[in-house]
């Protein structure tokens, strides 16, 4: 099975066929994608800005408590994203903005795992008014920047349709 076969297979799955036939699934998915985006952005802002030391009066534990919003927002967007992709895989796959977006989401996930494994315990031990070490700050800054670019690339996806420039 080569790349084109896989894309055709996805397009012809029950999901892909259903999404294309429906008048409202795609539009509803887009709306949910925006809501998921807002949850993710709201939660990640609180977590990352606290770790960066911008809102230091907040206890780290209270800030990290907002992570479930990030995870729920991400899951909503992953599921709706799969719905979009299945409707037109041949459009998304060659799109450079799509490829870069997926790559940056993987990086953001990796960054979150690295932070959780190496620094979360240390960060939770931070006193009120204390900011994290350089490693923590770099990780938090990276997280904010990556999600910002992911958001922008998502919005720019249609503009890159049919383009093979840049990549």
């Amino acid at each position: 099975m080569n790349e084109a076969d896989i894309l055709h297979w996805i397009r012809d799955t029950w999901l892909g066929v259903t999404v294309r036939q429906s008048r409202w699934i795609f539009a509803t998915g887009e709306t949910l994608h925006f809501i998921g985006l807002s949850l993710l952005v709201g939660g990640i802002l609180i977590v990352d800005l606290r770790l960066l030391g911008f809102i230091r009066r907040i206890p780290v534990r209270a800030a990290l408590a907002f992570l479930p919003f990030v995870i729920v927002g991400f899951l909503i967007n992953l599921l709706t994203g799969i719905v979009f992709f299945s409707a037109d895989p041949m459009m998304y796959w060659p799109n450079p903005a799509f490829k870069l977006k997926m790559f940056l989401i993987l990086l953001a996930g990796l960054n979150a795992i690295v932070f959780t494994v190496w620094r979360q315990r240390l960060a939770l031990g931070l006193c009120d008014d204390e900011s994290g070490d350089t490693f923590t700050k770099v990780s938090a800054g990276l997280s904010l920047s990556l999600w910002l670019v992911v958001l922008l690339l998502g919005r720019l996806l249609p503009a890159f349709e049919g383009s093979t420039k840049f990549f």
Partner: protein, 169 residues
């Protein structure tokens, strides 16, 4: 209508409508602004409703600075989006509903802030001894409205993209 037709024939409107990058770039700003305004509002309402109780409410001060920045960004990008297709937008019910919902959402946040303040400083009470994260029942009820109204604004905003415009002038 005459004014809108004139607006639609300006250079700026044409650029926003027909250039390769005008519309997508403005939409980018609009999406980031939405994330800031709605994201921070939702987290604030969740906190008022009882989520992460050790999070001091005053900690949202700086975040609301950021939310205002996002709002300003969306006011500017929103005006630009309007200039791009004024006739269509003014004739689209989803657009008018979205504008009304945004006004109500802002108003509901203002009411929520007022409710929280009056709980923090009840008449005659010793302000210093009051913990800042005491949230009254009425504040919790007030925190439901911004959530519903922002989600409504997102839904109607998305629907604008699915309506068909009037023919070109």
């Amino acid at each position: 209508m005459e004014f809108l037709a004139w607006l639609e024939q300006t250079e700026l409107s044409l650029w926003l409508r027909e250039s390769d990058w005008g519309h997508p770039i403005v939409l980018c700003f609009h999406a980031v602004g939405m994330g800031l305004v709605v994201g921070i509002s939702l987290m604030f309402c969740a906190r008022v409703l009882g989520y992460s109780k050790s999070f001091p409410l005053a900690g949202f001060d700086k975040l609301f600075g950021l939310a205002w920045f996002g709002f300003a960004m969306n006011a500017v990008s929103g005006v630009l989006l309007f200039i791009g297709e004024p006739r269509r937008l003014l004739l689209t019910p989803a657009f008018l509903i979205k504008m009304i919902l945004i006004i109500f959402a802002g108003f509901s946040l203002w009411i929520l802030a007022r409710t929280l303040q009056s709980a923090e400083h009840p008449a005659g009470a010793n302000v210093v001894s009051l913990r800042e994260d005491v949230v009254s029942r009425s504040a919790k009820i007030a925190a439901i409205f911004p959530i519903v109204l922002w989600l409504g604004a997102i839904i109607s905003g998305r629907l604008i993209g699915y309506t068909i415009g009037p023919p070109p002038i």
